[in-house]
Symmetry: C2
C-alpha cells in the first residue's frame, strides 16, 4: 500500500515510516520540522542526535535500500495538502503532524491558541483534501487516551450504549481532557467523526496511551534512530525519570504519584498503527481504537526506573513535588482495548525490558543529556498566570472542584 505519513520527521512518524518500508509498503512523508524548532525553543534537544531529513533519506537508501518521497511543508497550507493528495493518491494517511506536547500548550495564551488552531486546521485540511482528491483513502488519526480523562467508569473504545431516562442510544463517550493540547485532540475527533459521516470517508481514530521506548528493530544504524526528548515540555514522565537517574537528579513525581495512564512500547505503537493501515475502515466508517498495553501509575514508573537504575550502578532518589497539573492523583482507570487485538495485535515488549534498553542506548549520549540538565526539572505550572519558575516555592492553591451541572 502507499501510505502518507504526516509528521514523518517526528518521534513516532520516523519509526513508522521505517517499519512500513520494511513491510514492503510505499511511504510518502510530509513535515514542517516544527518539533525540531519547538524543542529548541524551550532550550532542549533530542538525546539522540537527529540528522537532517535529507541525510535520513540517504540512510534509508543505504541501509534499507528504500526510497521515501518527502514534502517539506506545512499542513496549514491547504494548496500543498491538496496537491500532495492529488499527486500521491495514498491508500492510507497516518496523521501524526500535530503539536503533541501538553505542557507546551499550557505555557501561555499564545501556545494554547497555536496548539488548538494548528491541530484543528491540519485535520480539517486533510479531511477536505481527502474528500476532493482521495475519497477512498483511509485516515488513521493519532488521538490520545487523554481525551477521555479519568472517569469513574470503564472507558469504551469511542462509543458506548447509554440508558438514560427511559431511552437508549449508542453515543460517543464523553471527553474530559486535561490540557489545551488534549482538548485539541478531542476537537479533531469530532471533526473526523463528522466528516466521515457527511462525506463517507474511512477513518480510524487511535486513542493512544503514552509511548515509551527509543529503538525499533528497523533502527540497525545510528543514523536511523528516532528522536528522544527528555525535557519537561517534550519528554514523557518515563523519559524524564530515566534521564534524571542518569544525571543524578531526583526523579520528580508530581503530587502523590497515583496518576495512572495507559502505556505502550514504541515498537508496539508502530505495530498497531501498521495494523490499522493494513485493515482499513469501511467507507463512511469512523472507528475508534484504544491503544495501550498496561496502565501504570507514576509511582510505578518511578520505582521501576529506580530499580533498574540501581542494578546499573546509579543511585536514584525519588522526590514528590507539588503537582503543576490539574488532575486527580488517586483514581481508578479501566479503559477497554480490544479492537486492535481482534485484528491480530499482540504486545511484544515489556516495560522493564524497554527501560533497560533506553538506559543502555542513552549511555553513549550522556554528554548531550548533561548539556541540557537545566531543562529536565518541571517549571510550567498549569494553574498560574506567571507560569515559569513558580514550582520551587510551594504548592499552588488547590480549589479545583470537578465540573458539575448547575445546581
Amino acid at each position: 500500500m502507499k501510505v502518507l505519513v504526516t509528521g514523518i520527521d517526528g518521534y513516532s512518524g520516523w519509526p513508522l515510516a521505517l517499519h512500513l518500508l520494511a513491510r514492503g509498503h510505499e511511504v510518502v512523508g510530509i513535515d514542517n520540522f516544527a518539533t525540531r524548532r519547538r524543542v529548541a525553543e524551550v532550550g532542549s534537544w533530542s538525546a539522540t542526535p537527529i540528522p537532517s531529513f535529507a541525510r535520513r533519506q540517504l540512510a534509508v537508501k543505504e541501509v534499507l535500500g528504500k526510497e521515501i518521497a518527502f514534502y517539506r511543508g506545512d499542513l496549514a497550507d491547504y494548496d500543498l495538502v491538496e496537491k500532495v493528495l492529488a499527486t500521491e493518491r495514498p491508500d492510507a494517511i497516518v496523521h501524526l503532524g500535530e503539536q503533541r506536547s501538553a505542557p507546551y500548550s499550557m505555557i501561555d495564551v499564545r501556545h494554547a491558541v497555536m496548539t488548538q488552531v494548528q491541530n484543528v486546521t491540519s485535520t480539517l485540511h486533510l479531511l477536505y483534501a481527502m474528500r476532493d482528491k482521495a475519497p477512498d483513502a483511509h485516515l488513521v488519526k493519532m488521538g490520545t487516551m487523554g481525551e477521555y480523562g479519568t472517569p469513574r467508569v470503564p472507558i469504551p473504545e469511542g462509543f458506548f450504549e447509554v440508558e438514560y431516562r427511559g431511552g437508549t442510544d449508542t453515543l460517543p463517550f464523553p471527553r474530559q481532557a486535561g490540557s489545551w493540547y488534549h482538548w485539541s485532540k478531542v476537537f479533531d475527533s469530532g471533526d473526523v467523526m463528522f466528516a466521515s459521516k457527511i462525506w463517507n470517508l474511512r477513518a480510524t481514530d487511535v486513542m493512544q496511551g503514552v509511548i515509551y521506548g527509543i529503538r525499533t528493530p528497523e533502527m540497525t544504524d545510528r543514523r536511523l534512530f528516532t528522536r528522544f526528548d527528555f525535557d519537561e515540555t517534550w519528554g514523557t514522565v518515563l523519559n524524564r525519570f530515566i534521564v534524571q537517574a542518569i544525571l543524578g537528579l531526583p526523579l520528580s513525581v508530581y503530587g502523590q504519584g497515583g496518576q495512572t495512564r495507559g502505556f505502550l512500547a514504541l515498537e508496539d505503537s508502530i505495530q498497531s498503527l501498521r495494523i490499522a493501515v493494513e485493515h482499513p475502515a469501511s467507507a463512511g466508517e469512523y472507528r475508534v481504537f484504544n491503544q495501550f498495553d498496561a496502565a501504570y501509575s507514576v509511582n510505578h514508573l518511578a520505582e521501576a526506573t529506580a530499580g533498574i537504575a540501581r542494578e546499573l550502578g546509579y543511585s536514584p532518589t525519588i522526590a514528590h513535588m507539588p503537582n503543576p497539573r490539574v488532575e486527580q492523583e488517586r483514581h481508578g482507570y479501566e479503559p477497554i482495548h480490544e479492537h486492535l487485538y481482534t485484528l491480530g495485535y499482540r504486545r511484544t515488549r515489556t516495560l522493564d525490558e524497554v527501560i533497560r534498553e533506553i538506559f543502555q542506548t542513552l549511555r553513549r549520549y550522556r554528554r548531550r543529556l548533561e548539556a541540557k540538565r537545566h531543562v529536565v526539572q518541571p517549571t510550567v505550572d498549569w494553574r498560574r498566570p506567571d507560569n515559569r519558575g513558580s514550582l520551587g516555592a510551594r504548592a499552588p492553591t488547590p480549589p479545583t472542584p470537578p465540573p458539575s451541572g448547575a445546581t
Copy 2:
C-alpha cells in the same frame, strides 16, 4: 452590574445591550462588524436597515438617555482583549462574538477553518484575559442546542449520571454536532469547562435553541431595531419561510420536514441571558443551561407561517426539496430545560404572535426583501465538493450511516 457584550453589533448582542441598559446595568461592547461584512459577502443584507454603530450609540443616547462604551476590534487580537478587560473590569462577559452561521461554515474549506479557528481563538482569548485581568468576572457563553445533535435519549443540561459496566459517574453529555460551526461551539464548551476548573473561573454555558423574532420592547424607535437576516446562509428557517411567503416564493422545506429543534423568542432569549448575568455562577463553577421554550418541526414552522400568511392575504405554497444538510428527518427530541426556570425565567411570547409581528414589521421593508430575492432559496449542499447551485438538479447521494464503534 457592568456587562461586557462581545458581538454587541449582532442580532442578539444589540437587543441584549438595550435590555441591560433598560434594567439599569452598565454596558460595554466590542465588535469587529464581521457579520455585516459576511452577510454582504453572500450578497445579502439585513431586512431592517442597520445604522452605523456610531449612529446606534447616538440613538441609544437620544431614546434611552444611556451611554454604551464601545471598542471596535477583533477578539483575535489578544492585546486588545486583555486591555478591554483590564480597563473595564466587567462583572459579567456575555460572549456572542463568534461566527454564528452553520451554512456559512459549510461553504468550503476556508470557511470551515475560519469558523473553527476564530470561534475557538476568541473564547481562549477571553478565558486567558479573565484569568489575568478579571478573575471574578462571570462568563456567559453562547452555545447552541445543536451541540447535542438529536440523540435517542433525553438531553440533560450539560451533565448526566452514567452507569456503565458496574461504575457510575457524572459526565458531560456527549456532543454530536451537525456542522463545522456547531462543532466549534462544542470545542468552546470544552475549553470553558476546562478553564473554569483549572483557574477557578465562573462560567455559564448557554445551550440555546433557534431564536425567532425581530422586536424587543426596548426597540421603541426604528434606529434601535436589530438586524434580521433572511438569506439561505444567515437567515434561520423561520425567517426564510416568512420572507418566502412575502415574496411569493415556495416555502422551502428540506426533505421530509420532520427535523425538530428547540426554539425561543428573541425577547425571551434576551431575558434568559439577563437572568444568567444577574445570577452569576460560583467561583470554579461551570454550569450549563439548555435554553429554549418549545420544540417545533420544520413542517410545523412552515404550516404556522403559511396559516398566518393566508390570514394576511398572501398565497403561500410549501415545497419539499432535497435536504442539503446531513441530518435525520424523523426523530424524537426531548431536551431538559429546567435550570433557567428555577432562576425565575418565564416564557413571554408565543410563536404565532411573533410570526405576526415579523410579517407586520417586514411590510415596510418589502423593497429590501425584493432586492435580495435571489439569495433566499438554498444552494449550499453540505455533502458535495462543488457546493454551489447543485440542489436544483437532484437529491445528493444518501449513504451517511450514523457514527458507530469499530466492528
